[in-house]
């Protein structure tokens, strides 16, 4: 684990394939035995400059299961940021009080900057529209767990592929594992060319679709994302496509026995509730896996595992 010790995790591309696999193996250990007192005496700062209850609770429960303490804030309203303190000053101050900083911030690139000024490691819990590497790691963990391996997976990503940062990071990571990509989106929300370049550079293939039903028969993972109306320049176009990317239980007929449906959550209406009871629905377990992955990361970065 020494390679991760003391190092910030800002972008999934900061980690090699080997690093990723080490974290996933460690997370597996924590899944078997989540309550370990290894963080006893450690203080983790949790700085959420914008609210994200789900991610914050996941990190905080990861720390608490390991016997660590948390200081920090859940939104910028309650912090000195509101009084106009610079990010640099906040980070330098908080680093005096903690061994590691978990940070969520609405500005793209804020986490990289924080890692440059901070004497303690930073874990990026989302920097604007840019990166959210712990989400990516928990997605990878969920894929490996349900498919038995990470290599040679066929994955279909559905919805807003243009702005969805989780799908971009997941493509970057899965490109290390020889994945085959299937992108399902409306014309105006297609995967950006910079992301497709990553796939090409890895010598891998991707295919693009506009119909969700086209990919269901063969995909191993169906990764659903939200389509937000405000992303469409033309509200009429949104009205036209908004129901085309909703997954219902009956649509899963004919899918592979081992296929799983993933979603970064929260969902709005893109997966109907009748899917929840289908054994192929995996999004709630996926969220639980986030705790183990975050335990693994914190332990590795603090050099405790």
């Amino acid at each position: 684990m020494s390679k991760m010790k003391g190092r910030s995790l800002i972008s999934i591309t900061d980690y090699t394939k080997e690093d990723i696999l080490k974290i996933l193996d460690l997370a597996e250990e924590f899944e078997k035995n989540p309550r370990q007192n290894i963080l006893n005496g450690h203080v983790i700062a949790s700085l959420f400059f914008e609210p994200s209850t789900r991610t914050r609770l996941s990190f905080e429960s990861a720390v608490q299961y390991l016997g660590g303490r948390i200081v920090g804030f859940a939104s910028a309203d309650t912090s000195s940021v509101k009084k106009g303190e610079s990010l640099k000053d906040t980070i330098l101050t908080v680093s005096n009080y903690s061994d590691l900083i978990v940070m969520r911030n609405p500005l793209d690139g804020s986490a990289r900057f924080a890692s440059e000024v901070s004497p303690v490691p930073i874990i990026n819990a989302g920097d604007g529209a840019n990166q959210h590497p712990t989400q990516c790691l928990l997605d990878l963990y969920s894929i490996r767990k349900t498919q038995g391996q990470l290599e040679n997976i066929e994955i279909a990503m559905v919805g807003d592929l243009k702005y969805g940062r989780t799908v971009h990071s997941l493509v970057q990571a899965l490109s290390l594992f020889n994945a085959k990509f299937h992108f399902v989106s409306p014309e105006s929300l297609k995967m950006p060319s910079s992301v497709k370049t990553v796939i090409k550079n890895a010598g891998l293939e991707y295919f693009q679709y506009t119909e969700l039903s086209d990919v269901i028969p063969f995909t191993d993972i169906l990764y659903m994302t939200r389509i937000q109306g405000e992303r469409f320049p033309d509200p009429l176009e949104y009205e036209k496509v908004k129901n085309s990317y909703i997954l219902t239980n009956s649509m899963l007929e004919g899918s592979k026995e081992t296929m799983k449906v993933l979603h970064p959550l929260p969902r709005v209406n893109e997966i109907t509730e009748d899917v929840d009871d289908n054994p192929k629905a995996y999004y709630f377990q996926q969220a639980r896996n986030g705790v183990y992955v975050r335990q693994a990361l914190i332990a590795a970065i603090l050099g405790l595992k």
Binding site: S11, S86, L87, K88, P106, L107, D108, G109, S110, R112, F113, D127, G128, A129, N130, Q131, S193, S194, T197, K200
Partner: protein, 155 residues
Amino acid sequence: MNNKRTELKVSAIRNGTVIDHIPTESVFHVFKILNLDKTKNQVYFGTNLDSKKYGKKGIIKISDKYFEDEEINKIALVAPKATLIEIKDYDVIRKENVQLPEYVDKIVKCFNPKCVTNNQNVTTSFKVTRDHKGNMKLYCKYCEKTMSKENIEFV
């Protein structure tokens, strides 16, 4: 060296640096990038000069100054075909094309309004890359967005 005289249309300098083949519209960008608006050296420049190769061109001459490669290569962002000529006692002692640097720090603004560099006191830093068509791109070290040449704005 007779051709030197014809090439250097704006008055010749004894010692210093000549930057030739600058697109006319980029002359003032080059000024900015090299901080020539703040230098104490003598600076001559010309715009809309005739060029066999490029139609119209700009040229800048700075007396008694030689640049580090790293510094001069930044101008390749706005003048990729510029020629760097170093003069000593009216003789050309070095002549070569500018090269795109690997990194561009400080001088360019990130085009992403939500980038931390546009909202906090952070120095910009870009990696120079090329897309599959060979077009130059700048990749922001912070927000990880890639910007094309049309979006380049100087700080």
